[in-house]
Symmetry: C2
Subunit: 287 residues, 2 copies
């Protein structure tokens, strides 16, 4: 099962999920001059970062909004990035956060778990209910794919609805409980399910409670770095160093901007940022 | 303001929102043989339906999942469909249901309210909170655009989370109230705001209550036809015939399949279905 591959890769390489939020403003001028088309510029930026970090990064997560913003050219870069990740045997999350009625979800599944934009995992939004999630089960069963469903996100606005009181508990537990129930029907050898949860690394007050309640669920943990979460924060959402991957995007891919020789060495500074993050996570684990 | 244009178009043409869920299985064989590329096949299917119905349809709503499913070719058809709708002076809703943190929402705004996939309105998912909605305000202010945010959807699974009890009321009222508060700051001459709500035409028990609570909000009403809502159901969500548009997709674009001469006349049968739906809505109004 794909979740066992993810689990084993975490054992081997650590918890880093590298977010490819590759907007043009983040890309060195030299690269823009060298490659004419937007699709090539973005793809080459991603490729150089992937090549430089694949031995220390567990999974890559292109955020599709950054590609849709550049229209067809951007989406060609999205497609080629996912294709390249697959070719080199690495793992990917298509961060698409889709959520729609069953007949529409079926089409999103076709697009993102089977078709041109195929990724190993995709992110989903649960607002419309469980029939917006279950159409993806066939890809989990037949295509060895996985999903991460939003439960408690990392943004300040998470408080608006996700924290609303439902029978004495925040709403996100209603969502999480239903997902855990579904996930229990799909378990890999690692004990985790290919049905995982997005749990933001910020808002750490509830971290231990969430982790204990969903002990056997794999977490995608955003919020590290630019959004404010530190190693000691996100560590609370892991299970003895596994059971989750921690995403960082801007902190890694724009690290080069702090250095005078950054432009030519953007990929090396991305690697530097990944190594620093790994150290931060390891230190937090042994605190 | 775009919402006034929509209001006036409803006055003139009625409440029909034609959903372009144009999957290949819905497209006549003859069209597939005539045009080779998927992008052309889908675009020509849409174009013929639009040309045949533009005098009686108020707004067109391509559902992006049906285009993403065909990869880059599909998205070229999506882009060209929106472009064509704009060229002929008709109105469009990009049914994308995106929802993400502010920096990502900014990129979705760039893609779907300003960039290659520009539509007049887009649909949004509120799960992550109001900071996943407010980044679109600049397009409402500067670009004369509008949004429809999911409140209470038409699918059976809506019951899973949208109906959860929050302080004695279903969750969707918490979402709706926050949206109404935001919408009150943006009002057109029609009295409506370019910040609208998606309220499904099914689950009619609460219809009058929802309509009264959000009297000054414009509704996008899915669920008519294939999903089960009838004219008398969706009429409960309108304000004396305005204040909302009612979507139908499959019921219109696949109507031709019921007829022996359907294949060659698919666009005419789409028109027939629109006329029948208009009559159904009018009859319901005068019941």
């Amino acid at each position: 099962m794909i979740i066992d591959r993810l689990y084993n890769t975490v054992e081997e390489k650590g918890n880093i999920c590298l977010g490819l939020d590759s907007r043009l403003e983040f890309i060195p001028e030299g690269l823009k001059e060298k490659y004419r088309d937007i699709s090539k510029i973005i793809f080459q930026f991603n490729k150089k970062i992937i090549d430089e970090t694949r031995d220390i990064v567990t999974i890559y997560k292109p955020q599709i909004a950054y590609y849709e913003a550049y229209g067809i050219e951007g989406l060609i870069a999205y497609k080629n990035t996912l294709k390249y990740i697959k070719e080199i045997g690495a793992l990917s999350i298509g961060d698409i956060k889709r959520g729609d009625i069953a007949s529409t979800a079926e089409m999103y599944g076709k697009a993102h778990l089977d078709g041109e934009f195929e990724a190993d995992f995709i992110t989903l939004n649960p607002y419309m209910g469980m029939d917006s999630i279950t159409p993806y089960l066939k890809y989990i069963e037949e295509g060895d794919k996985g999903i991460f469903v939003l439960v408690r996100t990392s943004n300040p606005g998470a408080k608006d609805f996700e924290y609303l009181d439902v029978s004495g508990e925040p709403l996100y537990y209603s969502v999480g409980d239903k997902l855990q129930e579904l996930a229990s029907k799909y378990k890999g050898a690692s004990g985790y399910s290919p049905i995982g949860m997005v749990v933001g690394g910020t808002h750490t007050d509830e971290a231990t409670e969430i982790r204990n309640r969903y002990k056997d669920m794999f977490f995608l943990i955003p919020g590290y770095g630019a959004q404010g979460a530190k190693g000691e924060d996100v560590n609370l959402y892991l299970n003895d160093g596994n059971g989750g991957v921690v995403n960082s995007s801007r902190g890694i891919i724009t690290n080069y901007k702090k250095y005078e020789d950054g432009e030519e060495n953007f990929h090396k500074y991305a690697r530097e940022a990944v190594l620093k993050m790994k150290e931060d996570l390891l230190n937090a684990r042994w605190l």
